[in-house]
Amino acid sequence: MKGMKYDVVVVGAGIAGPIIARNVARKGYSVILIDKKWAIGTPKQCAEGISVKVFEKYGIPYDRRFINREVYGAKLYSPSGYELEMRYKDVSGVILERKVFDKMLAYYAAKAGADVLARTEAVDVIRRDGRVAGIKAKHEDEPVEIYADVIVAADGVESTIARKAGINTYAPPHEFDSSYEYEMLIEGYDPDLIHLWFGNEVAPRGYVWVFPKDEDRANVGIGINSDNPQTAKYYLDKWLGENRIPAKKILEVNVGVVPVGGFVKELVKDNVLVVGDAARQVNPMHGGGMGEAMEAGTIASEWIIQALEEENITLLQNYAREWWEKEGGRLEKILKVRKITEKLTDEDLDLFIQLLSGADAEKIAGGNYFEVIKALLKNPKVLMSPRRMKLLRQLL
């Protein structure tokens, strides 16, 4: 059995893991990043869209090798086909190539001094004197023991390491979305925008998306409530069929489950931290989690560095405190909005998408929705419906 010792072991080379490994390595601490995938980044479980702001904010190069396409906004479609377009003058987001992006994030970590080991699966935690002393892993069929002062569980929605370390990450089934996606050739949708379709028949609790990676190539996917008796695949194939979109040029099939219903409370237990999807740090409205993982990873790495510098492991608790202050509150508000939108009927969706302008939608997207809701509350079709009044008032 191979034994190793590091200051920090990071389990999972998705988004949060490599950012932590990079930041910690830059300060001169020893860190190893492991991932069960034999090619980091592959297969992807993602629609690959992200705000253009994250590159500067988190110190990630704007490298064309992982940017498929720049987009300028979004178009929303209601169940009966009403449309709402938000188009910006400047690039608002990009559609990544996650296979390259994740691998490059791990590469940046390695260049900063971290060790990186693909095809290395964390099997269990090592306990010594009542605390977690490291990770039992397996590289191919070879057992590996990695001892570390700090253990980071960045192992995704199926996270087992946090749970094995005694952190309660459980959430009920309604708090997850099931997702299914084709990367395929598709025509007829403006490739400068992302496209989202809403409706209780189209995608219960979620939406169908077309995220362009090329003029005629896109991630076409769906998210639905995971406790739905039908599968996500069923709903996506139904939508493609009803819209007479030929699904004959399919380059990839992607599958996954997204935690959309709230966040792990206990983000730190002694010397173990949980980040990203493993901590359910996902935007509950749109199910995207890359930006959230970058933010959580950044906060976590600051406190890991501080704890190592001062040789005081209790400082890690500040990651939980700071995350809840900066991010938790914001995301809890978004969760509240999502829980209200879950109650909207198809008629409500038609009406609201008709009533809203692009400018309104921009305000909503930016989290500035109070004015928009107040304006909607004055609309006669809303005023005449006590139920709609009640739903909208809950948002204020």
Partner: protein, 67 residues
């Protein structure tokens, strides 16, 4: 009383996405990069995994009379 079940995977459908492991309340499923594993002794027969699977790769079989 809840009917005791065993979860069976259709490996031709399964993408090893790990979603079932994520929603399982008792760590009765583990998904590695190359295999799907079920631990009967931990399963509480809740069927959450069966409903969650994005492609319908999981089914529940009754365990009656086998123990």
């Amino acid at each position: 009383m809840v009917e005791k079940i065993r979860i069976v995977v259709n490996t031709d459908r399964c993408y090893l996405c790990g979603g079932c492991a994520g929603v399982c309340p008792t760590l009765a499923i583990e998904v590695s990069s190359s295999s799907w594993n079920f631990y009967q002794d931990k399963c509480i027969s809740c069927r959450i995994c069966v409903n969650t699977c994005p492609v319908g790769a999981l089914t529940a079989e009754p365990l009656e009379g086998e123990e």
